[in-house]
Amino acid sequence: MSDPLSLFFLATILIVTIPSFVYSIGYLKKEYSPKKILLGQILTFLFVLSMLAVVTVSNMLAFLIAWEIMSLVSYFLVVFDSEHEKSIQAGTIYVVMTHAGTAFLVAAFLLLYQHTHSFDFNLVKVASQTIPVHTRNIIFIFLLIGFGTKAGIVPLHIWLPYAHPQAPSHISSMMSGVMIKTAIYGLIRFIIYLLGVNDTWWGTLVLILAIISCLVGIIYALMEKDIKKLLAYSSVENIGIILFGVGLSMYFMSKNMSYWAVFALIAGLYHLINHAIFKGLLFLCAGSVYKAAGTRNMEKLGGLIRTMPITAACFLIGAMGISALPPLNGFVSEWLTLQAFFMGAWHTPGTDKLFLGFCAAMLALTSGLAAACFVKAFGITFLAKPRSSYAEKAIESPVSMRFGMLFLAGLTIIFGLGAAVIINILSRVAGASLGIDTSAMVFSVNNITIHPLAGNAMSLSPLTMALILVLCGLLGWIIYKVYRKRAISYNTWDCGYYRLDARHEYTATGFSKPLRIAFSFFLRPYRTTKKSGESFYHIKSMTYETHTTPVFKKYIYKPVLAITFKSAKFMRRIQPGSIHVYLAYIAITIFVLIILIRKF
């Protein structure tokens, strides 16, 4: 397959994987033995190869094989630190979940095959219109579950926060940045491109899932102390944002609003590549922090901005991008998505407007929470005083790692400023995958300003915005300089208590407390206090912990597993080890079969 869609994903993959690969050279050194490094690099190479295969093959069977190989290799990479119990568990959860997802894909593909008698994309596309409606719906659901597992759509996200952090950081950046996007590719390729959308409820369902993923993802991210886990949860959120675009485009497609379908898909794809870039970047930065400080726990970090300036700067850019701050790329894509909602709703008749408005509001809430989340992530990790000896001994990471980070940081800015150019390219991709001719559609003027639907007031030019911001900043600076008063350095104000140290700083947990209380209905926070000392009245030490209940794990996955194992244990009784019983089984089988002989 070499249509724009495939090429777009090809580009996305390469953009992220190449710098990550360069980064890995410095990252792996001294962490592992040379032999293991070689193995790791080979696996990484295979991983990238399999992802490329996934987005380029034009045959369902080949897709399936590439898909499974991708899962397999990524599993090996997740358990790369095979000593840690954690990574083994993470790997197991990951590979089992994704395999379960694949089962649904197999079912969906075979249903497609049954009605179209071909595995080839083009032939399937031609014949797919003949499929009866209820079968189409079933196929859609299966595809959604299958790819949703890989993409980490809530509540199928359960593996993601375990697997992504456990892998080596360059792998985490590839997994979070690119691999989960292949699932989005699958959704677009199979649902939008091959199956074609003509029920409104498809889009609606995807939008609802998007809302849930966004909110759940970002709320969990806010509660995290482990920086890589935080990033992983934020990937769940961003997948949600991408799904906003995709689902909205499906929705408009079913309403024959082709222009807005294209526009929404553009927004989705734009956020997809943006997230690939800045999430890749953030994971790389987190990795270099981990390598330098030896811990991922934010409560033990802090003050790294002095010792690791480059990493800090890159992380800041990434954080700004992901918090949708102008004029960086995240801002552009979220703005596009919101506009898609606003303008789309304006052109949609009827009370669906209310639903669309609600979605838009939820998106806004998400971006607000995301900003909070990354203020916390950057502020606690890099600013103020070091909170532990880990953070004090940290040093800036080697050149190759810095290159990887700086490259992606640069892209974060470029994809913000160059929006007007990129949007034209994306319009072709979206058009091709929706089967709409976009040559007549206008999305930007003179490659500077995004200006959909010429004549409408709505327009945006990140480039000019950046210019204005810089100029205003300069103005402020000039005013600042005009008054040449001296600035003296002194301790932070300590209310007259002269021993202010890192222990007085705000912690990650403390930072997110208001939100923890606000969302307590969902997070169900609880506290554990441990007292130690020879007697209850004479307590030597006390430990006090706050936890949040992992709702999905506790109320969905655990019970299912429990039931499975219970029934299995029950079945165990049929084999008590007595030969007489076994012989009886044979006799009984014969009797039963002969009695029921007419049934067969």
Binding site: I65, V96, H99, A103, A107, A568, K569, R572, Y582, I590
Partner: protein, 485 residues
């Protein structure tokens, strides 16, 4: 001539045991012999496929495409086992677990066992086929009870009694088939070649009843639930290499027998009857084995139950009756044979290194036995149906067959339980293979022969998948001919 060769070589080797000086050299000779067997069987297969249709020698040996295929499978696995045995038995002698004499008896029974298995697909006469299968039981019983421990003898006893009792019913079924033939008054000799030709004119009622006995009888031997109970005991207690033979091919010979009678049933009583029975037993096997795999703590038993699962899958594939499903099932016979042999070799290496079967007390196997560990890891993924390994392909074909027939329930069940079983495998094996290297364990050296066996099997496993994709059309034609013979 080929057929004779196939039967004579094992006997010669069996006789050769008495001349053998030491176990190792004889092991090598043994392996060479089975190399020859493999080549010959490959020639046979090629000749049959090339279109000479059916080879008949002395009127009681016959090889059509089906039997040639099964012969090939048996040859492959027995070669791998012969290779693996060299190192394994040698080590047993070094560690003083067994004497040279015992080693010789091992090779003796090994060869007779192989002979009996080769006999099953080759004999033309359905009665003699029964004899051959019963013979496999009797011989392999010794290999199960080889170490003469309480557990192994118990396993051997259960194995021999349950299988004999089951196979008695198979004989009853055979007699009833014969009765049906005599009713139609056309033949007096139970020969397969005549049987198929006259199958059309048989009395369906008798055939139906007879087939139930055949199915339960040979099903017991094939390990179809709920007659499977001997299987985990026998396979887990047998000598390391022999477990592979038992799981890999012995079960398949029983499947072969069922198929032989099946063709007659299909012709007289129609496909639906044959299909439904197999589907029923297949699904039951799948479900039950899944339950036991979930809670299994014994490494080799785990693999044994997975054999039951795969036999169930094969039964389902055959029962579907769609060409894709049938093809998938037949290919699955081969794929499962090679993969499971690899797993059993790996398992017995691990069991020996840690001298325990208990999965909970085995950790960091991939460090203790780097080579074996890697192989087992890959084999595990192959066994649970991950591409690019071959089992993925055959399972995919079977599910495809189910869909093309519209048997959504079957397909759904298959998918569901495959996933659950995969989960169980991951859960057990990831803990066993990875994790910290235990204190008292050191990295162990592995014999070359074992490594060779692993490499041989792995090549087959990885090569078969792509090959199947490449040749699937031609294979389909062959199967369609088979179904319409």
């Amino acid at each position: 001539m080929l057929l004779i060769f196939l039967l004579v070589v094992p006997l010669i080797l069996a006789a050769g045991v008495f001349l053998a000086r030491d176990a190792k050299s004889f092991g090598v000779v043994n392996a060479l012999g089975y190399c020859g067997m493999l080549i010959v069987s490959a020639l046979l297969l090629q000749e049959v496929v090339a279109g000479h249709g059916m080879l008949i020698e002395w009127h009681f040996l016959v090889a059509d495409i089906l039997s040639a295929y099964f012969i090939f499978v048996i040859a492959v696995v027995s070669l791998a086992t012969a290779l693996y045995s060299i190192g394994y038995i040698n080590k047993d002698i070094e560690q003083g677990i067994i004497s040279l004499k015992k080693a010789k008896t091992y090779y003796l029974f090994f060869n007779i066992f192989c002979f009996s298995m080769f006999l099953v697909p080759l004999v033309n006469n359905l009665g003699l086929m029964w004899v051959a299968i019963e013979m496999t039981t009797l011989v392999s019983a010794f290999l199960v009870g080889f170490y003469n421990t309480k557990r192994s003898v118990e396993a051997a006893w259960k194995y021999i009694i349950i299988c004999s009792a089951g196979i008695i019913f198979a004989l009853l079924g055979t007699i009833l088939f014969f009765y049906a033939f005599s009713l139609s008054g056309c033949m007096k000799s139970l020969n397969w070649t005549e049987a198929v030709s006259t199958a059309g004119s048989l009395d369906p009622k008798v055939i139906r009843i007879a087939f139930i006995f055949i199915l339960v009888g040979y099903g017991t031997k094939a390990g179809l639930a709920p007659m499977h109970n001997w299987l985990p005991d026998a396979h887990s207690q047998a000598v390391g290499p022999v477990s592979a033979l038992l799981s890999g091919v012995l079960l398949k010979t029983a499947i072969y027998a069922i198929l032989r009678f099946g063709f007659i049933v299909i012709k007289s009583a129609g496909f639906a009857y044959f299909g439904n029975l197999l589907l029923l037993l297949g699904v039951i096997s799948l479900v039950i084995s899944c339950c036991f795999i979930l809670i299994q703590k014994d490494l080799k038993r785990l693999l044994a139950y997975s054999s039951i699962e795969h036999i169930g899958i094969i039964a389902i594939g055959l029962g579907l009756g769609t060409p894709w499903g049938f093809l998938g099932a037949l290919l699955h016979v081969f794929n499962h044979a090679v993969t499971k042999s690899l797993m059993f070799f790996g398992a017995s290496n691990i069991v020996r290194a840690y001298d325990t079967h208990n999965l909970h007390s085995i950790r960091g196997a991939i460090k203790t036995l780097p080579y074996t560990g890697t192989m087992v890891l890959l084999g595990m993924f192959a066994l649970t149906g991950f591409p690019p390994f071959s089992i993925f392909m055959s399972e995919f074909l079977i599910i495809m067959g189910a869909f093309s027939k519209g048997a959504y329930f079957i397909a759904g069940t298959l998918l569901l339980f495959l996933v659950i079983i995969f989960g169980a495998f991951m859960y057990r094996f990831s803990e066993m293979l990875f994790g910290h290297l235990p204190k008292n364990r050191v990295v162990q050296k592995e014999p070359l022969s074992g490594k060779l066996a692993f490499a041989f099997l792995l090549v087959l496993i990885s090569a078969a998948g792509p090959a199947l994709i490449y040749f699937r059309k031609d294979l389909l034609c062959l199967v369609q001919n088979l179904l319409t013979l």
